[in-house]
Symmetry: C2
Subunit: 351 residues, 2 copies
DNA sequence: TTTAGCACTCGAGCATAATGAGTGCTAAAT
DNA sequence: ATTTAGCACTCATTATGCTCGAGTGCTAAA
């Protein structure tokens, strides 16, 4: 019986926290006990709510900007809220269908998917949408070609199964003839089409290093092949980040604060940080959420970042996400990012 | 004699305007008559200066934020100032040498030049540096290759004399064999290496359309060649814009004003506008300056834009410039942009 | 034509007070 | 034991009035 009561109480407390967060997210104004009391269907007076709110403040979930103001959630408060809702957040069928339809036209390359997705995230959530490309080494090889640009310099062109194209200028120790280059390209194209670049490259390296019989066509120039492959592998390991909708920040009331503004601009002026942030979480497919001060960088201390990995052929190869002020509709953000990460996965597999 | 006096007077008036502008640009604080009187070496009292300032205000060159404040320049004021100084602004030898030295290392491609230049502009002027790429059709052909990606789809790869690479996916009406593609590439490479792409392409079109004897190698597939050339020409006509140092805006006092801030963010969130702005001025090599309200767009009404064309092999093919608040050191901006546009020209010709 | 001198204007800074939203605490009610 | 009515208290916000001083415009004298 005692246990029962405690659970009741905790649930009520939780409900209060949720109401505070929901309305604060909507209005950007500190929430009063009276407000919460009205929102809770149960007829609890504001005085009771005040007691509960005092406890919530004690526990660090909410805080007062000043004595005679209502409460606003802390990072910890948002965290508790998010941890509670994240498991059972689901996108509405209608929204899901509407979003999926946006991918119908002109989605032929990964680039198309990346751009469309960051656009959709920013439009739907009114915040900056960010998308990390798969590393080129995770793409699938359709074709590789080498062009001799001048003595000892070649241009390697990688065409992926998704029709994205990458090129790398490579300086070699030894000069190669166009015919030799064609031989190498031919060897790779016939034996490795459809494989991931990383896989293809390690495959080639193994074969060449072992001087395997399968690679007799290129035995004479084995060293150069290894040199080429190594150079390309160096370049293809990077994950680029693309974003859109930074301007939505300017519309948020948080933007009144010059200091916050400066930090956000700083953030979006230096590519590296956002890239590092997403890269760190890359291997996992899971949803990941950093709220306010949970972010290690000052630049992000007034922001939250919600990201989720996406798969290509069953492997997690990139992440998509949203960056916005801490006062963010986490439910919507989670459901949208999570859903779109699935869509990105399917689209990538479809093309 | 009368004429002589009037010139004296006008010159004095001009000097007052210049002092107001110089100090306002430095301090961002309205300039008082006392201040100006001290700055002018001549011993004119503040009362006299006040009379002159009243005239300047009458004529629309300066304005008062409020009755008991000093004066700040208007767009017209800046304009008059700029028109007066722009002819005899020259960069100091030392600065010029220092800037030129920055281009020593790792400048091998146009991309390197573009990125270095926008970085230098933003660093030197503490404002956003913008650089418009030459259109690909103005690049010089080192090599062109075609890769057959699948039936009726080919990838065209353009390598420029500066080692920049562009690729375009082209859908054809008719299928072509790899051998045929190689023939076309070969034809172009042997006959047009070193020429500007635009020139090469029109040359090819003429030849092929006339069924000239010089093009007998490719007569069988003339239609396809024309189709390919047309597709590429469509794509290569664009001028991309690159920028850097947007974050410097956040440090200017103008940034305290949320409204200005919003507009500036809007501006940098939509690529098209800046591109259009520079494109419009492209054909001319001249320095171009838009001050405050002279800009047609609201987004730029608190900003000024200083741009200058740069040449490649004697033709103006792109522009570089700076975007900053109206309160900008125009002298420095003009000399830097002008000088760097020359440097860009030489560097492009060198690589 | 210049300038000293002075009245005038107006923003900035500061103190004071009223208002009211919202709280915390206590004592009574359930 | 829990809830709540009631009330004192706090403090941001707004308004008001005040002084200070920077800067002006104008006038009359130099």
């Amino acid at each position: 019986m005692v246990k029962e009561k405690i659970r009741d109480k905790n649930e009520r407390k939780q409900a209060v926290l949720e109401h505070i967060i929901d309305t604060y997210v909507r209005t950007a104004v500190p929430v009063s006990s009276k407000m919460v009391s009205e929102l809770m269907g149960t007829n609890l007076s504001s005085a009771t709510i005040r007691n509960i709110m005092a406890e919530l403040e004690e526990e660090g979930y909410i805080t007062q900007p000043h004595t005679s103001a209502g409460r606003i959630p802390t990072s910890t408060g948002y965290r508790k809220y998010v941890d509670r809702i994240k498991a059972d957040v689901h996108i509405e069928r209608k929204r899901a269908e509407k979003l999926e339809k946006e991918y119908i036209s002109r989605i032929r390359t990964i680039k198309n998917v990346i751009e469309k997705t960051s656009f959709l995230i920013s439009r739907e959530l009114h915040n900056a949408g960010i998308v990390m490309w798969p590393s080129v080494s995770d793409f699938y090889l359709r074709q590789i070609e080498f062009i001799k640009v001048r003595a000892e310099t070649i241009l390697a062109i990688l065409v992926t199964m998704t029709n994205d194209v990458r090129n790398y200028m490579i300086k070699l120790d030894k000069d190669l003839e166009s015919a030799e280059l064609r031989k190498i390209a031919n060897f790779i194209n016939t034996n490795y089409e459809g494989q991931a670049f990383s896989q293809a490259f390690t495959g080639i390296k193994n074969l060449v290093e072992k001087r395997s019989a399968d690679s007799e066509e290129i035995t004479g120039i084995a060293d150069s092949v290894l040199e080429i492959i190594d150079s390309i592998m160096d370049e293809t390991i990077e994950n680029d980040v693309y974003w859109d909708g930074f301007n939505f920040f300017a519309e948020e009331p948080e933007f009144q604060n010059i200091n916050t503004t400066r930090k956000v601009i700083q953030l979006f002026s230096n590519r590296e940080y956002l890239t590092a942030l997403m890269k760190k979480e890359l291997p996992k497919k899971d949803l990941n959420i950093y709220i306010g001060k949970e972010n290690l960088s000052d630049m992000l201390e007034d922001c939250s970042v919600v990201t989720c990995g996406y798969n290509m052929r069953g492997r997690t190869v990139g992440r998509i996400g949203v960056v916005g002020p801490t006062r963010m509709d986490y439910g919507l953000a989670i459901s949208t990012v999570q859903f779109l990460s699935e869509v990105v996965g399917t689209k990538l597999d479809e093309i």
